[in-house]
Amino acid sequence: MKHFTFFGGKGGTGKTSCAASYALSLAARGVRTLVVSTDPAHSLADAFDKPIGFQTVPLCPNLWGLEIDAEVEAKKYMKSIQDKMLDLVSAAIVDEIKRQIEIAYMSPGAEEAAIFDKFIELMESVGRDYDAIVFDTAPTGHTLRLLTLPEILGAWIEHLIEKRRKAMDLMKMAARYDKPLAERIANDPIILTLTARKDKFALARKYLTDREASVFYFVLNPEKLPILETARAVELLSKHGIAVGGVVVNKVIPPDAGPFLEKKRLSQEGYLQEIRSRFSPMTIIELPMLDDDIQGMVQLQRISALMGGLDS
C-alpha cells in the first residue's frame, strides 16, 4: 500500500468504480483511507450511492469520502486574501482591488489551481488523519495537467523571485543611507510569499515523484483508443518522474457471455494481448464486465477483492 494512489484514464472507463472499490479493500484491511474525487464532474457519490460533498464524510469504518469543489475552495482563498488586505491597506483600495480579484477568479486555470491547493492540503494530512488517500482523478488530459503543474509553475515562480531579488538589491544599494527602508527591504513580503508558494510546489512534486509514497494506476477498456491514450499518458508521466504502478483492464467480457457477445469477446482477446505486451512489467488486473451497474457498497465489494490485488 502506498500513501497516495491515483486512478486515471479515459472518460467512461470506470475510474471511479476502481478507485472506490480499491479504497474499500484498503479500509477492509484496517487502513484509514480517504477517497477523494478531483474530477470537476464528480461521480464518487453515485458509486457509493451515498451523499458526498466538499466536506469529508465517513462512508464506512476506516473509510472517508470527499469531492473537491473548486468553487468553494476558490471562494475560501479569496476570502483569506481579502481579510489580509483589510489589515494592510485602506478600505477604499480594497474595493478597487475586489475588481481585480474577480478577473482572476474568471481566468482560465483558476479552477485547476484551486483544486491543486486542496490537493496539497490533503497530501499534507497523510499520517495524521489518514494512512492512505485514493484519488479518483478527472479524465487523462485534465489530470496530466494537474500533476505536471508543480514542475512548470516551480520554474516560473523561481524566475519571479530572481527578478524581485534583483530589484531589491538595487533598492538596497540606493537605500544605503536609509536604515528603516533597508530593513523593510530585507523582509520583503513579496519574496516571502513567492518563496512559500514555491516551497508548496516543491513539496507536491516531492510527494508525487516519490516512488515509495505515490503510485498511479490507469483504468482502460480492451479497445483501441483507450490503449493508445494510456500508452501516451504512461510515457508522459514517467517523463515527469511519476511512477505508474499498473493498469486495470475493466469491462472484460467473460467467456460464458453467450453468442451475442462472442465476436466482441474475440476482438477484446486481441486487445488484451496487446495490453499485456505493451504494459507487461507493470501489474495488470482484469475486471470482468458485470451484468449490472456498479453502484452501492454491495456491488463495490464484489470487485474490491480483485482490486486488492494491486498491492500484491
Binding site: 476558490a74 482563498y77 479569496m78 486574501i81 489580509k84 488586505m85 489589515d87 494592510l88 491597506v89 483600495i93 480594497v94 478597487e96 482591488i97 481585480q100 480579484i101 478577473i103 482572476a104 477568479y105 481566468s107 482560465p108 486555470g109 483558476a110 489551481a113 484551486a114 512548470i152 509553475l153 516560473w156 515562480i157 524566475h159 519571479l160 527578478k163 524581485r164 534583483k166 530589484a167 531589491m168 538595487l170 533598492m171 544599494m173 540606493a174 544605503r176 543611507y177 513580503p189 513579496i190 510569499t193 513567492l194 508558494r197
Partner: protein
Amino acid sequence: MNKFLKALRTGWEFFVLFHQGTFVDKNMAVVRKEAFDINDNLMLLLFGDYLGIPNPMSYYMLELLPYVADELEPWERRIQNRKFIIAEKAAQYDFD
C-alpha cells in the same frame, strides 16, 4: 576661536550635503530608477492579465495583492503611458 569652529562646522556640513547631493544622490537616483524599472517589469509578469496578457498562474498571484495594492494603480497608469522606451532610458543617463 569658538566662532571659527562654528564656521568650520557649518562649512563641513555644507560640504557633506553638497557631496551627497552632487555625487551620491544623483548616482543613487539612477540606481533607484533602475530598481523601479525592474519592479515595473516584475509587476507586468505578476499582474499582466489586468492589461490583457495571459498569466499561467494569475490565481496564485492574488496572494501578493495585499502587498502591492497601493502600487497597482500608479503602475497601471505608468505602464499604459509608456511611449518611447528609448527616450526613457536616455533620460535616465542624462541624454535627453
